[in-house]
């Protein structure tokens, strides 16, 4: 995998995970889970805009906003009873927000597999995060094509 296309915010998150022991990685994922921002008020009343990530075992919804100057904002919502899924969403929200369209589309699709969480969380569960990233990119392509 080449590194030069991975935006620095995501690279930092990855490096933080890899610096920890397995058990601590799970704790950091929980911290991310607790940090998932609430939806901005203008979206809280518009569940219709959000797309369900059906690959995740828990109900998680995402919505991508692309500003005229190509800056991307990712919004996600997932229940408190699904902390792992919330953690995955929070990593992407924090790592992607404010990047440009090209930067987000350039994120390697296997980024979720590089966080060192496979053993702590299981490969099956990591697939949910891969789907989150894939659907985020697809929404961006749809927005810029529109």
């Amino acid at each position: 995998m080449t590194d030069h296309t991975l935006p620095s915010a995501l690279a930092d998150i990855r490096d933080d995970f890899l610096a920890l022991e397995q058990r601590e990685r799970l704790e950091m994922l929980l911290e991310f889970s607790n940090e998932l921002p609430e939806l901005p008020a203008r979206y809280q009343e518009h569940p219709d805009l959000f797309e369900r990530v059906v690959e995740c075992q828990s109900p998680v919804y995402i919505f991508v906003e692309v500003e005229p100057d190509s800056v991307v904002h990712l919004y996600a919502t997932a229940p408190k009873e699904a902390p792992t899924t919330r953690g995955f969403a929070s990593i992407l929200v924090q790592g992607i927000d404010g990047l440009t369209v090209d930067e987000v589309l350039g994120i390697p699709d296997d980024f979720p597999n590089t966080l060192g969480l496979t053993a702590a969380v299981s490969p099956l569960r990591i697939r949910g995060m891969t789907a989150l990233l894939g659907r985020t990119k697809r929404q961006i392509r749809e927005r810029i094509a529109a």
């Binding site: 799970l26 690959e55 075992q57 953690g87 053993a119 969380v121 299981s122 569960r125």
Partner: protein, 303 residues
């Protein structure tokens, strides 16, 4: 040392009432010597967001499955795992979890593979405990490591493999997946990730009884009369007949295995944990599609 059983009236009607405890019972017995409370959830982080005080976590995937081979851990790994959680061979283990005890029942079934004698479920699981306002904490549980013997896993009594299922035609099979998975419209539970089965449908002759039918709205097990109506009258199970239950990877069918074995008293129930992710990808095994069970194959296909 075993802890006394819960003598609730509701449980007394079940075949093995000692396999269940109520929230009242557990809250009253928390901290008692010989009792270890285990949380087992679908979400690997849910325990960390708050758990029953003093409970330990066992994860179905990262703890109970072998990391390389598609199998459960062996006796040495099980002994190391549970000893580290403070569990001895004679501990009373009470397991609870999310989603109607779906994964808790799976963990209980794996404990049974190792012949752990006294293992019980908290009726209603995690959600009911929280809904009743019982104590929850995020404090890390500190346990003294116990000693646990290395016990060889015994698969033959309660676990079925693909060849066992092929030899089982003529006896009842229970498919506990959703009607959509059973009929062949899809290979995974609605809203669940694809876990890889090449073909859709069900094992011929299997009756479709979705696992959650055994649970009431509050996640507790239904009373015995309602369970009889579902499994004896509805699915036609008769006492004395061997039964095999299956789902997608053997977790939902663990819940049904618990109901048939411990609540209704069937004595020869096996869980086919290869389930649809194996059967639906295996070469030359018979498959039926649609809402009807379908007929048993006239000849057994080549193995």
């Amino acid at each position: 040392m075993t802890v006394e059983t819960d003598r609730s009236e509701k449980f007394a009607a079940y075949a093995h009432p000692e396999r269940l405890v109520s929230g009242d019972w557990l809250e009253a017995h928390l901290g008692e010597p010989g009792l270890v409370v285990v949380e087992s959830d679908e979400d690997v982080l849910l325990y960390e967001t708050g758990h029953i005080p003093g409970s330990v976590k066992i994860d179905w995937h990262t703890d109970l499955n072998d990391p390389v081979q598609r199998d459960y851990i062996d006796g040495a790994a099980f002994a190391e795992l549970v000893a580290g959680k403070g569990i001895s061979r004679d501990s009373t283990v009470v397991i609870y979890g999310d989603k109607n005890n779906w994964w808790a029942a799976y963990a209980l079934w794996v404990f049974t593979l190792f012949g752990h004698d006294d293992v019980r479920l908290l009726d209603g699981g995690r959600d009911k405990w929280i809904a009743e306002g019982r104590p929850i904490t995020t404090d890390r549980t500190v346990t003294d490591a116990a000693t646990y013997p290395v016990v060889e896993r015994r698969d033959d009594a309660i676990r079925a493999f693909k060849d066992d299922v092929l030899a089982h035609f003529g006896h009842p099979l229970i498919d506990v997946r959703s009607p959509e998975e059973y009929s062949g419209e899809r290979t995974t539970a609605p809203a669940y990730p694809e876990e890889g089965a090449l073909r859709a449908g069900h094992i011929p002759t299997a009756a479709n009884v979705p696992w959650a039918k055994a649970a009431a709205d509050d996640g507790t097990f239904k009373p015995v009369a309602e369970l009889d109506a579902i499994y004896r009258d509805g699915a036609g199970l008769e006492q004395g007949e061997p039964v095999i239950a299956y789902c997608r990877i053997g977790e939902r069918s663990s819940h049904t295995w618990f109901v048939l074995t411990h609540l209704l008293g069937f004595e020869n129930v096996r869980n086919y944990d290869g389930s649809w992710t194996e059967w639906g990808s295996a070469v030359r095994v018979p498959i039926a599609t649609g809402a009807e069970p379908g007929a048993a194959p006239s000849t057994t296909p080549a193995k």
